[in-house]
């Protein structure tokens, strides 16, 4: 048998053997046996000495070809076997992907905080500052500076906790208006502020009353502020908090510190304006009080009411939260039941 035949036979035999192999170890054995220094290919190539010089390149080419064929076959087989091996291993590693993930606990901001943050962010975007005031106030700032002299009947609208005759738990966030106006340097530009915080009223706690709740006060004072600016601002606020489908309407009302005074209603959440028991069939829900700052309030804070004017509004985040989420008992906000607190995931 010539070298040619020997090489061809080796190739056929090896390829067959390789294709039959089913283990990586066997495949390695084949590689060592066939291609190794003591293997048949080396053996055959030793016979090169015995053939004529001119045939040698041809045989050399063939032997390289056979070698390449075998190597390729081994590599391919190896890849195939490895793939099968990995598939088998991975198969054995299969888990139940529907089991719950390891919990990463995260606390929630209080739902009222969420509403306050929401309002703050909206007004920060419109160039307002956020200003806090004291919770223990003087009669002067809580009432008198707001055009509510002692024994004014409108004081009945908010029954107040007194500490002494002159010191009280603030019954509204409005005193921050007076405090801020007094300090503001109008030569440096307009005053635009909101003031969120806790307020207190003499009320017996029940499903709809709480002796403690929150308010957010808003105030803008400048040279050219109009009632239409108030209306527009309240519309932006309502749409931000409740959604674009909500309309705002203004109704006359009375607050001693604003004139004209209005109450703002928004479309009823429950019936979207059709009329239901929640809105007493009106299609509207009262959400806040507002108005143009009373000249007396400006004057008492040392602001020239002939030059400056503006609007103020006040709203209750507790009430907003009750309306927005259908919370039926205000005490929920202050009992801090974790099953309640964790219901309101912070959106966006």
């Amino acid at each position: 048998m010539g070298l040619h035949e020997q090489l061809e036979e080796l190739k056929t035999k090896s390829l067959k053997e390789i294709s039959r192999t089913d283990g990586l170890k066997n495949l390695e054995d084949i590689r060592v046996n066939v291609l190794g220094k003591k293997g048949p290919l080396t053996e055959i190539l030793r016979g090169m000495r015995d053939i004529p010089k001119e045939e040698r390149p041809k045989v050399g080419e063939l032997s390289n070809h056979v070698r390449d064929n075998i190597v390729t076959a081994i590599d391919e087989k190896k890849a195939e076997l490895e793939k099968a091996h990995i598939a088998k291993k991975l198969e054995s590693e299969t888990i139940d992907v529907t089991l719950p993930g390891k919990p990463v606990t995260q606390g929630q901001p209080h739902v009222i905080q969420q509403i306050i943050d929401n309002i703050e962010d909206l007004f920060l975007g419109m160039g307002y500052q956020v200003i806090q005031g004291p919770e223990v106030e003087t009669d002067k700032y809580n009432f008198e500076m707001l055009n509510l002299p002692k024994d004014h009947p409108a004081r009945d609208m908010q029954d107040t906790f007194y500490i002494t005759d002159e010191i009280l738990m603030r019954s509204q966030t409005s005193p921050v208006q007076a405090r801020t106006m007094e300090k503001h340097d109008f030569s440096k530009g307009p005053l635009k502020m909101i003031s969120p915080g806790v307020v207190y009223r003499r009320d017996t706690d029940d499903a709809t009353h709480s002796h403690q709740f929150h308010q957010v006060e808003g105030l803008v004072i400048d040279k050219n502020i109009t009632m239409t600016d108030l209306k527009g601002t309240l519309e932006v606020l309502a749409k931000e908090l409740f959604g674009d489908r909500f309309e705002v309407r203004l109704r006359p009302s009375y607050f001693p510190f604003t004139e004209p005074s209005v109450e703002a209603d928004v479309t009823c959440f429950n019936c979207m304006g059709k009329g239901c028991s929640v809105c007493k069939q009106t299609g509207w829900i009262e959400v806040l009080g507002a108005g143009m700052v009373h000249p007396n309030v400006l004057r008492m804070a040392g602001v020239d009411s002939k030059v400056y004017g503006g609007f103020a509004f006040g709203l209750g985040p507790d009430r907003f939260a009750m309306l927005r989420y259908g919370v039926d008992d205000i005490r929920n906000f202050y009992q801090n039941d974790v099953r309640f607190l964790t219901q309101f995931s912070k959106k966006g």
């Binding site: 606390g107 929630q108 920060l124 007194y162 635009k192 209306k231 009375y254 004139e259």
Partner: protein, 807 residues
């Protein structure tokens, strides 16, 4: 105020649906609570006439009545009312009728006798017991002779139940809307209608007497009496009022009593002028004084209550004897009764603040006091008195004395307000013309003089709430309609809206605590005296409410933890074992001698149970000191203080576990504490093992922060050495670390504790602790020799400081 639609129609033609009118009132004037029509929901309720009434043979209280109901035959009704009698016009609910609360009336047998309906009390067809005439409260209602009722006809129109009542919620500034006249003016303005006032003149007079001979009036407190008039009607017969008046009062929510009292109430509803009627014969001195009585004088009011007067209560007196609390309530001794013959009627205006104080102090908020507090129209004090005298003379069949006493003359003053068109449009944001504004003001029946674009508005006395241009602006705005205003946003110079650094830090702090698994809680600022002073970080006087509503909320908190522990208890009681809460809010410290407390922002947290939810792959770890410390540390580390934070064991907090509590220091200042709640305190709160912290957030905000700069990351590798020590239990980690640091000067970068062990294989009173010390030279590669040398020095220093065995 309950505004009757039928009554309104006496002022002008009103062709608006009552509900539409109510909506319009709400949009233009004051809030409307509800619009009701009493007959709504009722069915088959008619007038009956009792032809015959006989006792029921099988009952000691039932009667069998034959009742004419406008049909061919009378019907038989069994009735249990004590006042049913033959010959009465009554309210009958027929078979198939619907009465109050949608109760259906059916034909039935009562103790063997057929009953084909029910004879009703007013309450049974929906009247509030408070308005039912006293004689009919405990029985069926009987129509009076002058009612003109006919058997078989529905009762509704007779009883005013087909009227629509618009119940308005009057704001404190609109006292004028506590009268029908005032409402008519308002609605006239809304619909641009001229109204007709039906004020009766005084005609039924007797010329013989001179009033000054009958009665004298002296005003002892002239500052508090703005108007005071009295008139007298003689030979009055006290009787029920005419039926129409009784119905009118009931519709307005007022109980009919007798003709004289009803007249005073009617006039009050019509004019908004409260009146008071005295029995002339019960006055002994015949000299009225308006003034004060000594403190604690006893006085029995109309309702039979004995009151102890304050020296500041303005009183009406007969000689020295008190006969009425001015503007609030009359006295029992001089009230009108069935035998009254001569009536004195008072029409006055008292100082609103006086009335308010007296009403508040005695908790006597009457229809009269409510009106006096909000103001009275000075223009109709006399007119109201005249009409009252005339009606009393007519209804009581008597005569009024021709003159009246005017002790203080009413002083109706029109107010002049000047404003210009530019101002109006500037504030309202409108583009109204002179004509439009004039038209609106004229609808309100204000007199307007226009020069160029300036309006001089004369406001009648009946609108005493209007004084300044802003008040006129409101009138214009509301009549023009808020819906007609466009929407704009403020323009003008730009302002920067940003949170202050403190506000940003507070938001950051909240988000770290939330990220650590704590939910934000909001507790009450007012708490019990006992809880207010637990877990105190500094000494302070308590701040108490003057008149708390309850002892649960009587004192301002001086800590946040106690509120959180209440919350933990609330949750634990509801089987929520895992509770992790934080609160950010104020505490109130007060120093002796000051009234007003200082408000300090605090931050506190409480955890109990586990921070992990129950899971399937491992046991949930219960919370402990170190878990909470990890959270606190994360929080404080994030604040990037210039000074360093340290924890020092403390036994100073009586409410805390003495062996598991640490003061938290920033530099050498305590800014808070943390640890386990004392088991006995936990027991009082009814809570399990709970860990808490409280921090002075204000101090944290105020503390200097590090200026941040880039720290180059070293290219050179670190070398570590581990050391395990057997050391006395009592030696703290801080002490060991300090000793290690003391000797390791140059290259020690970090000391990391990685094991603490006591118990088996460790001698009693000892513990095994292990640390990894990391060395690095930022600018060179460290050699083993350098590290070994430093490490050995550290160990030596440790050995010098403590009895320690290196393992």
């Amino acid at each position: 105020m309950k505004v009757s639609y039928k009554w309104l129609k006496e002022y002008f033609d009103l062709d608006v649906e009552p509900k539409v009118l109510a909506e319009k009132i709400e949009r233009t004037a004051v809030e409307v609570d509800q619009v009701t029509r009493a007959e709504d929901g009722l069915k088959k309720i008619i007038v009956g006439y009792t032809l015959d009434v006989r006792p029921h043979p099988n009952s000691d209280h039932l009667n069998i009545c034959q009742v004419e109901v406008g049909e061919d035959e009378p019907i038989q009704i069994v009735c249990g009312a004590p006042n049913v009698a033959k010959g009465q016009y009554v309210i009958v609910a027929l078979h198939g009728a619907r009465i109050k609360d949608n109760v259906k009336i059916k034909r039935s047998k009562m103790r063997g006798e057929q009953s084909n309906g029910m004879i009703c009390a007013l309450q049974e067809i929906g009247f509030d017991e408070k308005v039912v005439p006293k004689v009919y409260v405990n029985g069926i209602y009987v129509f009076p002779e002058d009612s003109g009722v006919k058997p078989g006809e529905p009762v509704y129109s007779y009883l005013g139940m087909d009227d629509d009542v618009i119940d308005t919620s009057v704001t404190p500034n609109r006292g004028d809307l506590f009268s029908m006249d005032g409402n008519a003016y308002e609605i006239g303005a809304i619909y641009d209608k001229k109204l007709t006032l039906n004020h009766r003149q005084l005609k039924t007079v007797d010329e013989t007497d001179n009033i000054d001979d009958l009665l004298k009036v002296k005003i002892d407190a002239p500052d508090d009496v703005l108007a005071y008039q009295m008139g007298i009607v003689k030979n009055v017969t006290i009787a029920p009022s005419p039926f129409w008046l009784q119905v009118r009062l009931m519709t307005a929510g007022v109980r009919p009593i007798n003709n004289v009292v009803d007249i005073t109430n009617y006039i009050m509803l019509k004019y908004g002028q409260p009146l008071h009627a005295f029995d002339y014969d019960k006055l002994s001195a015949k000299e009225i004084h308006v003034g004060y009585s000594p403190d604690q004088t006893k006085f029995v009011t109309l309702d039979g209550e004995e009151r102890s007067l304050k020296a500041t209560d303005l009183m009406i007196k007969d000689g020295d004897k008190n006969i009425a609390m001015a503007g609030v309530m009359g006295g029992l001794d001089t009230e009108i009764d069935d035998h009254t013959h001569t009536v004195v009627i008072e029409s006055a205006i008292f100082d609103p603040i006086k009335v308010r104080k007296t009403a508040r102090y005695h908790v006597l908020h009457s229809e009269a006091s409510m009106r006096f507090e909000r103001g009275i129209n000075p223009a109709t004090v006399t007119e109201a008195l005249h009409e009252a005298l005339e009606l009393a003379a007519q209804f009581g069949d008597g005569k009024a004395v021709k003159d009246q006493i005017t002790a203080v003359k009413p002083n109706p003053q029109a107010v002049e307000v000047t404003l210009d068109l530019t101002r109006i449009n500037h504030v309202l944001g409108t583009q109204l013309s002179v004509d439009e504004v004039t038209k609106i003001l004229e609808r309100l029946q204000f007199t307007v003089q226009v020069t160029d674009e300036t309006f001089v508005v004369t406001v009648p006395a009946r609108r005493w709430d209007i004084h300044i241009p802003a008040d006129i602006l409101e009138e214009i705005a509301r009549i023009y309609g808020y819906d007609n205003l466009p929407s704009t946003l403020p323009t003008g110079s730009t302002t920067i809206g940003r949170l202050t650094t403190s506000q940003q830090v507070i938001r950051g702090v909240r988000s770290i605590l939330q990220g650590s698994g704590l939910n934000q809680a909001m507790s009450y600022g007012l708490t019990t005296a006992q809880k207010a002073k637990l877990f105190m970080m500094q000494s302070s006087e308590e701040t108490k409410l003057d008149f708390p509503m309850s002892l649960d909320h009587a004192v301002l908190r001086m800590n946040l933890i106690s509120g959180l522990l209440d919350d933990v208890a609330y949750n634990v009681a509801r089987k929520e074992a895992n509770v992790a809460l934080y609160e950010q809010g104020r505490v109130f410290y007060r120093t002796d001698g000051t009234d007003r407390p200082t408000e300090v922002e605090h931050l506190a947290g409480a955890i109990t149970g586990s921070l992990e939810t129950k899971n399937w792959y491992g046991k949930e770890a219960p919370v402990d000191f170190y878990q909470l410390k990890g959270i606190v540390d994360l929080l404080l580390h994030d604040l990037n203080f210039e000074e360093s934070i340290s924890y020092v064991a403390s036994k100073e907090y009586p409410e805390m576990h003495p062996g598991r509590t640490a003061d938290i220091y920033l530099g050498d200042k305590v800014i808070g504490f943390m640890g386990q709640v004392h088991p006995q305190v936990a027991k009082q709160f009814k809570i399990p093992e709970t860990y808490v912290f409280e921090l002075d957030l204000q101090a944290i905000l105020d503390a200097p922060k590090k200026i941040q700069h880039y720290d180059p990351i070293s290219k050179y590798p670190a070398i570590t050495r581990d050391v395990a020590l057997l050391i006395d239990q009592k030696v703290s980690n801080t002490e060991i670390v300090a000793a290690l640091q003391a000797a390791s000067n140059r290259h020690l970068e970090k000391i990391q504790l990685f094991d603490v062990y006591a118990g088996k294989h460790i001698p009693e009173g000892k513990k095994s602790v292990a640390y990894t010390l990391t060395y690095r030279d930022k600018h060179n590669t460290l050699t083993e020799e350098e590290v070994n040398k430093e490490f050995e020095q550290a160990i030596e220093s440790l050995k010098k400081a403590f009895k320690v065995e290196i393992r």
